[in-house]
Amino acid sequence: MSKGEDRQTQGVRPSLFLERQSYRRRRLTDAARLLPVLGAALIAIPLLWPSGDAVQDGIPLSSAILYIFSCWVVLIAASLIFGFASRHKTANDDSEPESDRWQP
């Protein structure tokens, strides 16, 4: 937090165009923001599946389990990758908007 305060007092506006590294970092956080959207979309897909009832056969439960758990693994892996990427790239920083101010 104190870091955040210090940074704030610098009061430098981030420039519009960023260096390559900063640019990567920005896109990384974009990905982080998109991840929940992807997750919601993936787990909403089963809503489209036909339900099994007396008239017609539905999706077999084993397939449903495979699908749900695969999506789950994908989301966990994406979150893991983002976690490591952000740890690596922003080792000293955890607040994205200000991070560019530390560029020399």
Binding site: G4, Q8, I43, S51, L61, I76, R87
Partner: protein
């Protein structure tokens, strides 16, 4: 077959182990050792109190009934965790920067430290939490009963066991949950014990799952076939329930008091979220991995009518695997105990900070409480709260009789606690959210939840069948489970949809319509822009505050040691010599944060407010602080005014300087003038006297003539010297006025005849003698001198062909005004400002005097209390003489 006694022994042994772990962790943390206690792993594992006994046992039961629907309860939190970057991270940052102690504290803090809101959230949390605790007690009891049925000794009494379980959990929670008063400090003991429990429950469930898949079904392939062949073998999930439950579990994951406690309050490092973001979803995945296989195998193996909620226990038991069943029991026990302990801690903090303390502070009224031991009051209130919460859970269980209705209580509680979501999310991301909005939204959601879900679920006593069928008073569209006539929905989906949507709408509309207090606006800005500025809120002005009183109060709350340390550090920070810091706003604000860790934001605010002066700092003060920019603006406009004044002064100085320069030049030229005026007569005198001395044979006529010239020039010299002396006397103020009484008319008569005497120049003087009948009492000779001067000036300088001088007199408001105007070309404007200066002569004309006349006139009029001014716009040269008639009366 494990006997009940063995089971009880194992349970007790497990509890002793937990005590030991918690105690050791507390000791290590106090000694500053054990960095791993604050590791991301422990943090992630502590989050798993989300998985209660309800999920441990109930998930399998749910799967057995509804297939994959159970997974929604895990998918919601997964979504929350993977969006930690813009969600939880902000929540944690805000909570830590504000030293928030609970979800109620956070909401109260965001909306201007409103205790009303805090109480509302607390009531909601207790109402939602009590059945939930009862549910845990029920699952422990049920699992006991499974073993009890198999125990031949038959000593088991269900009621007693529930009581002892509840009491034991209460003791554990009190011992480890209220060791530190500062609720904002980490409870390392409890958290470590919970982490251990979550490992145990995961291990137990995985063990049962592996046993089922590989031990019973014979591998993954056969298991899958078995699943498809079972009665739940097809995808058959209601879309509404699927979506609603995912949303609901996500909302509850953030809003549940116990989740808030471990996820936000106990968070030691924001960076831990980075690990938890993938590790906790992984934990949830593992927890749900074998749920369907266990359910399917249970449905296959166990007789019709077996309780699917206990498949986790009964499947191993039916296969004769007692030790696995025992492990499974410990897993369920772990789930229940960890949930109960943390819930009790979180709820007790809320109840104590937002209900008990404000009431207690009110009853103590004023400074009386300073003498009381606040520290012990808080601890006792917190411990009693834990006991009360546990007792509530116990009695709820006894009253509901452990019926099947409990199964859905988890979701009912979720729906209740989710009513906080709009206020929470709105508070974090929308500056416009107001206290009124939060109150209205929360009330609407809360009432709808009670009306549409809680009451209908509690049976016929509170809500009759008639009301359910036909609506209250027969109003059809108010039917609790079919609001606005939309019937046929799942009750939970119905409630969540209506309560949360109307809650959100009410929250937004009320926020838009209301106007927040300054404190709310400041807090709102701090919450929403927490990453931009963690700037401290300046709330207190400590002019009245007594550092000693604050010290006493802080000691009562934080304990003597920490309080003295804190005050000492603050004093050093201020660089003061005394051990007590000055009550600066910054210090008071840090103290408030420090205290809010113990008693909550609203209470700390109120306590400091009592000492610092009256109730609390006035909101106007806060605005004044916030509006520093406005003050700067005001300051700059003052500067502007000053600079205008300065430039005006500078202009006046420049004018004065110009005048001074002119005067200086005038003085130089006067010296020449005086020299000239003196030398000229002396030249004549010297020349003629030498002629008379040296020349023989001058005729008598010539002698007489030359002697007359010498005489005239001598007189001229005398006159000049007289004028100079006169002026000098007038200027020095040593003049003696010779006061006398006469009419203006006779003064003017004498002046005119005197001025025009012996002159060959013709000057017509026009007078209105009637208006001159004004009696005067002044120095008549001096006044006459002024008149003579003005008249002879006109005579000498008026350049008209037929020079005419008009003298007019008026009495204007007690002032005698006499104007002298001739018909000449007048005095050019650039010379007007100089005519009254000494030695000034217009146009270098040498028609007589030395240019002292008007200067003498000005001095005389000043002595007489009047003035003489040039009167422009009269055609020719015009002068106005003013003389106050009041002066004459005063002199009499």
């Amino acid at each position: 077959m494990a006997t009940l006694n063995v089971l009880i022994l194992v349970c007790l042994g497990y509890v002793v182990l937990l005590f030991g772990v918690a105690f050791a962790a507390d000791r290590m943390a106090a000694a500053g050792k054990g960095a791993w206690l604050r590791s991301p792993l422990i943090y992630t594992l502590s989050l798993s109190i989300y998985c209660t006994a309800w999920t441990f046992y109930g998930a399998v039961g749910n799967a057995a009934r509804s297939g994959l629907e159970f997974v929604t309860i895990y998918l919601g939190p997964t979504l929350v965790m993977i969006s930690w970057w813009w969600g939880l991270r902000k929540l944690v940052r805000v909570a830590r920067s504000q030293r928030v102690t609970s979800i109620a504290d956070l909401i109260s803090s965001r909306y201007g430290k409103s205790n009303t809101l805090a109480i509302g959230v607390t009531i909601l949390a207790v109402l939602g939490g009590t059945p939930y605790i009862a549910l845990q007690l029920q699952s422990i009891t049920l699992s006991f009963s499974i073993f009890a049925e198999a125990d031949p000794s038959g000593l088991y009494r269900q009621g007693a066991s529930v009581f002892w379980v509840a009491a034991g959990l209460a003791v554990f929670a009190i011992l480890f949950g209220t060791r530190n008063l500062d609720a904002n400090e980490r409870h390392h003991g409890v958290v470590t014990a919970i982490a251990l429990e979550s490992v145990v429950k995961l291990f137990a469930l995985l063990a049962v799952g592996i046993f089922v898949v590989w031990g019973v079904a014979g591998g993954i392939g056969p298991m899958m076939e078995r699943i498809d062949a079972s009665e739940i073998g097809q995808w058959n999930v209601d879309a509404g329930r699927w979506t609603t439950f995912i949303f609901l579990s996500a909302a509850a994951f953030v809003c549940l008091p116990r989740m808030f406690q471990v996820m936000v309050v106990e968070n030691a490092d924001e960076g831990h979220l980075r690990t938890a973001a993938w590790a906790f979803p992984l934990y949830l995945l593992l927890m749900s991995l074998f749920v369907v296989p266990i359910a399917v195998v249970g449905l296959d193996l166990l007789p019709e009518g077996s309780n699917p909620d206990l498949f986790v226990l009964t499947v191993p038991l039916s296969q004769g695997n007692d030790w696995l069943a025992m492990l499974s029991f410990i897993g369920g026990f772990s789930s229940a105990t960890s949930m109960v302990i943390v819930t009790a801690m979180a709820l007790s903090t809320m109840v104590s900070n937002h209900v008990v303390m404000p009431i207690w502070l009110n009853t103590q009224e004023g400074a009386g409480w300073v003498s009381g031991d606040v520290r012990s009051v808080i601890l006792i209130s917190r411990r009693v709260s834990i006991a009360v919460v546990m007792a509530l859970g116990y009695y709820y269980y006894r009253l509901s009789g452990g019926g099947a209705a409990l199964a859905s209580i988890g979701l009912v509680a979720f729906a209740g606690i989710s009513q906080i979501l709009p206020a929470l999310v709105g508070g974090l991301f929308w500056r416009g959210a107001t206290r009124t909005g939060a109150l209205v939204g929360l009330s609407v959601g809360f009432l709808l939840w009670i009306y549409t879900l809680l009451l209908p679920g509690m049976g016929g006593v509170l809500m009759t069948e008639t009301v359910l069928q036909n609506g209250p008073f027969g109003i059809g569209w108010l039917r609790p489970q079919a609001l606005f006539g939309i019937a046929g929905m799942d009750p939970i989906v119905h409630t969540v949809m209506w309560s949360l949507s109307l809650n959100t709408v009410a929250f937004c509309v009320a926020s838009l319509l209301s106007f927040p207090s300054p404190l709310e606006r400041l807090q709102g800005a701090q919450f929403v822009h927490v990453f931009d500025h963690s700037v401290a809120l300046r709330g207190w002005t400590g002019s009245v505050a007594q550092s000693e009183d604050l010290m006493i109060m802080t000691q009562r709350i934080m304990g003597a040691g920490p309080a003295q340390e804190f005050f000492q550090a603050e004093a050093e920070k201020q660089g003061g010599r005394s051990s007590l810091p000055e009550p600066t706003p910054a210090f008071l604000e840090r103290l408030e944060r420090e205290l809010s860790g113990s008693v909550g934001a609203a209470t700390a605010h109120a306590m400091i407010g009592q000492i610092v002066g009256g109730s609390s700092v006035s909101v106007e003060d806060l605005l004044a602080v916030a509006d520093e920019s406005a003050q700067l603006l005001e300051y700059s406009s003052q500067l502007e005014a000053k600079s205008t004044e300065l430039s005006r002064t500078a202009r006046q100085l420049r004018e004065a300087n110009t005048k001074l320069t002119q005067i200086s030049e005038q003085k130089d030229s006067f010296l020449s003038q005086v020299s000239h005026e003196l030398r000229t007569p002396m030249t004549s005198i010297r020349a003629f006297s030498e002629i008379m001395r040296d020349s023989d044979g001058l005729s008598g006529e010539e002698q007489t003539r030359y002697a007359a010239i010498i005489h005239d020039e001598a007189l001229r010299l005398t006159r000049l010297l007289d004028d100079l002396l006169d002026l000098s006397v007038l200027e020095s103020g040593r003049v003696n006025l010779n006061m006398g009484g006469d009419t203006l008319r006779s003064v003017l008569d004498r002046a005119v005849s005197s001025a025009l005497a012996g002159s060959n120049q013709t000057l017509a003087v026009r007078r209105s003698k009637a208006s001159e009948r004004i009696s005067l009492h002044t120095d008549l000779d001096r006044l006459g001198q002024v008149f003579i001067n003005l008249i002879s000036n006109a005579r000498k300088y008026c350049d008209a062909d037929d020079p005419v001088l008009t003298i007019s007199a008026h009495d204007v408001g007690g002032q005698l005004v006499v104007d002298f105007a001739d018909n000449g070309s007048g005095i050019p404007p650039e010379a007007r400002s100089m005519v009254f200066e000494k030695f000034a002569r217009v146009g270098g004309d040498k028609a007589g005097g030395a240019g002292l006349g008007l200067a003498i006139c000005r001095e005389i009029m000043q002595r007489l209390g009047g003035e003489i001014t040039y009167l422009p716009g009269q055609g020719g040269a015009a002068f106005r003489v003013r003389l106050p008639l009041a002066y004459q009366q005063a002199a009499q």
